[in-house]
Amino acid sequence: MVLIKRIFAALITCCASLPLFAGWGDVNMTPGVNALSREIFDLHMTIFWICVVIGALVLGFMVYLIVAFRKKEGDKPAQFDDHPVLEMTWTVLFAVILAVMAIPATFTMIRAYDDAEGDINILITGHQWKWQYEYLEDEVSFFSNLSTDLDQRNNIAPKSDNYLLEVDEPLVIPTNKRIRFLITANDVIHSWWVPDFAVKQDAIPGFINTAWTQVDEEGIFRGQCTELCGQYHGYMPVVVKAVSPEDYELWVNEKKEAKIQQALLTEKLWSTEELYEIGEGVYQTNCVACHQVNGEGLPPVFPALAGSDLVLNDKAKQIEILMEGVQGAAMQSYAEQLSEVDIAAVITYTRKAWGNDASGDGEIVIPKEILDYKNNKL
C-alpha cells in the first residue's frame, strides 16, 4: 500500500508541474492584439482568480475535514443538522460574488456587441471547407484554402511550423482601421475564430452575424473554424495578415489587376497537356476532399468521378454542375471561386485522369466554353 501511495504521489507531482514546463502561452488564453481582446483577457483573468480562490477554499477546507475528523476510537460525532444563519450567510455571499463578476462582464459584452459601420466591411462566407472573403468596398473577392499538404497530414513529410494553420491566400487587413466582418455561410454552420482578435462568430447559412476588430500591430494571426461542419472541419483554418494601410492599398490594386489578367487568359489557345497540368493542381486543392485523390469518391455521399458516366459522356452537364453546384448536396458552385481557366482545366483533368478516357463531344474543355456558359446565363 505504501509503495502504491508513493507512486501515486510522484504521479500527481509530475502532473501538477507539467504546466511549469510549458510556456505560459501554451496554458492560458492569449491577450490578443486589440483593445477588445485585451479587455476580454482581463475579464477572463478576473473570473479565473475568483474561481481559483473559491476552489482553493473549498478544496482546502475539505482536506482539513478529511484530516481533522477522520474516525477515531470512541469519538462522538456531533448531531447538529442545520444552522439557518450560516446558510443564509453563504447564500448571500454567493450572490455578492456573482454580482462582482457580472458587472464587468456586462460592460465588456456591450463593447463587444458594438455594431457601428466599419472603415472596411468584409463579407466572410463559410463553405465546406474553406472561407470566402469579399471586400464590399473594393470588389475584391477570393477563397482561402488550407495549404498544408496531404503528405504532412499522413505523416509522410515532416510537419511545418504552422501545420494545419496555413492557407493559400490569407485575409489581408490594414492596421488601425475599424474592420467590420459580416459573417455568413453557404452550406452548414461554421464559426469564424481568430483568438488574437477575440472574435468568434458563427456563420449561419441565410443569416448574417457581425463582428469587428481594429488591430494596432502588423502581423499574421491564425485561427480555425470552430463549429463542427462535416468531415474536414478540422482543416479549415483562418489566417489574417495585418499590414500597414499603404501596403494594403498596394495589395488591393494588385488583386484588381490580377482579375483583369485572368479574363485575358480565356482567349488563349490551350493544349490538352497544359490544361491537364493546371487541372491536376486545381483538383488537388479543391476536389480531393470529397472525390479523393484516386477519383473514387466516398460513395454514397461523394460519388466517384473515375468511370462516372456523367464525367465521361456529358460535358454540358458537368460544366453545369461545376458552375451551379448541386442543390442540397455538398457539391457547390465553383463559378466564383475558380477562374474560367481553372474550371476548364479541372474538367479536362477529370475526363482524362484515373484511366478516364473521355472522347465523346470533344475530349477537352477549353476556357472559352466556360465563358460562353457564363455569358449565356446573363
Binding site: N28, L43, D81, A105, D187
Partner: protein, 527 residues
C-alpha cells in the same frame, strides 16, 4: 393478503422465474434495475471504447488510425451513448432498485410498463449502432446534431438515428412517469415529503425534468425528419426558417438534460456522506429547495450554449445572468456536504472516497462552468477543449463517480456480499489520478486555442494531448477492475449484514442483504 393475488400469480411469493424469460418478462423492480445497470455498464464500455479511439487518434498530430469521417462518427456516438446509454440508464437502474426500498413500496407503480421502458432501450441503441454498418455510415454531426449538418448534409442513416432518439425518449418518459407515480403514490404511511430520502427527492425532480424536456427533443428530431424528407423549412432560411431555431429547441432540452445527469448523483452522494460521516445530513430542507431551484432555473438558461450564434444582446445578458444564478443553489449543496462532514466521525470506505472526490472535482467542473457562463469570455472559450474539460469534469468525476459511489454503497445490498475493499480502494485511487491526468490538461489546450471536434491539431498542442491520451488509457483500463470487483462480489465475498454500513439510515437498510425478491409487501410504518 388477498386470495386473488395468490391465485393469480404463483411466482409472486416465491423467487424469480428461471432462465432467460425471467429477464424478458419480468415485472420486478429489482430485476429491471439490474437490467438497466448492466445495460448501462455495457454502454459505458462501448462509449468508452469510442473515447479510446478518439484519444488514440489525438495521441499525436497527424492522421493516426481513423479517417476524419470516422472520427466524427466516433465523437457523435461517444457523446450520445455516454449520455443516453450510460449515465441516464444507470440512474434509472438505481432508481428502480432503490426508490421502492427507500420509500417502503412493494414495487414500482406500473410494473409492466417498467419492463417495457427498459426493453426498448436495447432496441434504440441496437438501431443506432447498426447504422454504422449501413450505407453512408453512422451519425457524424456531433451529439448536438445541429441543423443543417444533420439535415440537408447528413448521411441517409440519419432517419434511423431520428427514430432511435424517439424510442430513447419514449423510454425515458415512461420510466419517469413510473418513478414520479411511485414516489407520489406509494410512499409508506408516515413518509411525508419532507421526510423523503434525498435520492428519492432528486429523482422526483429529475423525472419531472425528463417528462418536460424529452418530448421537446422528440419535437426537434421530428422537425428534422420533416425537413429532410418532406420538404418543410424549419431550419432553412430559404423558406423562412432558421438553423438557429434548431439550437434553441435542442438546448431547451439539452440544458435540463445535463442536470438530469447530475441531480441523482447529488442524491447518492448526500446519502453516502451522511452515512460515513456518521452525522445527519446538514441542511436537509435547503438541500431540497436547492434541487428544486436548480431544476426551475435549468429551463431558462439554455442559450448559454449559443453565445456565439449572434443573439441580440438582451438575450446574451439574460442568459448570462440566469446561468450564473445556478451557482447559488449548487454552492449551497456543496457547502452543505462540507458541513455534514464537519465534526463528524469520518471513515473512508470506497463509496465515501468516490463521494469526496465527487464533491471536490465537481466543484472544479462547476467553477469552469461558471467561467463559461460569462458571455464575453465565452467568445474565447466556446467550442474549445476548455468546454470539453468543463463537461467531462462534471460528467466523469461528477455523474460517473456518483454512479460508481452508489454502486459500491448499495452493492452489498444487491448481492449480499461485501466487495473487496482493497481492490475498491485501488480502483478509486487509479481512477482519481488518471481522471485528472486526462481532463485537467484539457483546460490548458482549450485556453491555448485548440478547438474541439477536430481529428488533427496544430503542433503546439502536441505535448498535452499525449498526456491526455495516456491518462485516458489508464482510466479506461482501470474500469476493467471495476467490472472485476462487481463480478467478484456477486460470486464471493464476506456476507453482508442488513445494515451493511455502521449506522446507515433509511428503509433500504432494514431489509436483509441480499434484498429479498419482494420487499415491503405490507408497507412499513415511518415515524
Amino acid at each position: 393478503m388477498s386470495a386473488v393475488i395468490d391465485s393469480h400469480s404463483d411466482d409472486h411469493h416465491h423467487g424469480p422465474a428461471k432462465g432467460i424469460t425471467r429477464w424478458l418478462y419480468t415485472t420486478n423492480h429489482k430485476d429491471i434495475g439490474t437490467l438497466y445497470l448492466w445495460f448501462s455498464f455495457l454502454m459505458l464500455f462501448l462509449g468508452g471504447a469510442m473515447a479510446m479511439v478518439i484519444r488514440a487518434e489525438l495521441f499525436e498530430p497527424g492522421s493516426q488510425i481513423v479517417s476524419p469521417e470516422f472520427y466524427n462518427q466516433m465523437l457523435t456516438n461517444h457523446g450520445l451513448i455516454m449520455v443516453f446509454g450510460a449515465v441516464m440508464p444507470a440512474f434509472v437502474g438505481l432508481a428502480n432498485w432503490i426508490i421502492p426500498m427507500q420509500i417502503g413500496a412493494p414495487d414500482m407503480a406500473l410494473p409492466r410498463m417498467n419492463n417495457l421502458s427498459f426493453w426498448i432501450l436495447p432496441v434504440a441503441f441496437g438501431i443506432l449502432i447498426s447504422t454504422f454498418f449501413m450505407e453512408g455510415g453512422g451519425p457524424n454531426f456531433g451529439w448536438t446534431f445541429y441543423a443543417p449538418l444533420s439535415t440537408t448534409y447528413a448521411p441517409p442513416t440519419v432517419t434511423f438515428f431520428i427514430f432511435a432518439v424517439h424510442i430513447m425518449g419514449a423510454s425515458s418518459i415512461m420510466g419517469s412517469i413510473n418513478i414520479i407515480t411511485t414516489i407520489l403514490n406509494m410512499r409508506a404511511p408516515g413518509m411525508t415529503f419532507m421526510k423523503m430520502p434525498l435520492f428519492t427527492w432528486t429523482w422526483l425532480i429529475t423525472a419531472y425534468l425528463l417528462i418536460a424536456v424529452m418530448p421537446v427533443l422528440a419535437g426537434a428530431v421530428t422537425m428534422m425528419l420533416m425537413d429532410i424528407h418532406f420538404g418543410t423549412s424549419f431550419f432553412n432560411a430559404a423558406g423562412g426558417g432558421d438553423p438557429v431555431l434548431f439550437q434553441h429547441i435542442f438546448w431547451f432540452f439539452g440544458h435540463p438534460e445535463v442536470y438530469i445527469m447530475i441531480l441523482p448523483a447529488f442524491g447518492i452522494v448526500s446519502h453516502i456522506i451522511e452515512t460515513f460521516s456518521r452525522k445527519p445530513i446538514f441542511g436537509y430542507t435547503s438541500m431540497v429547495y436547492a434541487i428544486a431551484s436548480i431544476a426551475i432555473l435549468s429551463f431558462i438558461v439554455w442559450a448559454h450554449h449559443m453565445f456565439t450564434v449572434g443573439m441580440p444582446i438582451a438575450g446574451e445578458l439574460f442568459f448570462m445572468y440566469t446561468t450564473m444564478l445556478i451557482a447559488i443553489p449548487t454552492g449551497v449543496k456543496v457547502f452543505n456536504w462540507l458541513s455534514t462532514m464537519f465534526k463528524g466521525s469520518i471513515s473512508f470506505e470506497t463509496p465515501m472516497l468516490f463521494s469526496i472526490a465527487f464533491v471536490a472535482l465537481f466543484t472544479i467542473g462547476g467553477l469552469s462552468g461558471l467561467m463559461l457562463a460569462i458571455a464575453p469570455a465565452d467568445f474565447q472559450y466556446h467550442d474549445t477543449y476548455f468546454v470539453v474539460a468543463h463537461f467531462h469534469y462534471v460528467l466523469v468525476p461528477g455523474a460517473i463517480f456518483g454512479i460508481i459511489a452508489g454502486v459500491y454503497y448499495w452493492l452489498p445490498k444487491w448481492t449480499g456480499n461485501m466487495y473487496d475493499e482493497v481492490l475498491g480502494k485501488t480502483h478509486f485511487w487509479m481512477s482519481f489520478i488518471s481522471v485528472n491526468i486526462t481532463f485537467f490538461p484539457m483546460h490548458f489546450v482549450g485556453l491555448a486555442g485548440m478547438p474541439r471536434r477536430i481529428p488533427d491539431y496544430a503542433l503546439q498542442f502536441a505535448d498535452f494531448n499525449m498526456v491526455i491520451s495516456i491518462g485516458a488509457f489508464i482510466f479506461g483500463l482501470t474500469q476493467l477492475l471495476f467490472l472485476f470487483i462487481i463480478l467478484k462480489s456477486i460470486f464471493a465475498g464476506k456476507q453482508a449484514t442488513s445494515e451493511v454500513w455502521e449506522g446507515a439510515k433509511g428503509l433500504e437498510w432494514t431489509v436483509a442483504s441480499p434484498a429479498p425478491y419482494h420487499t415491503f409487501e405490507t408497507p412499513p410504518e415511518v415515524k
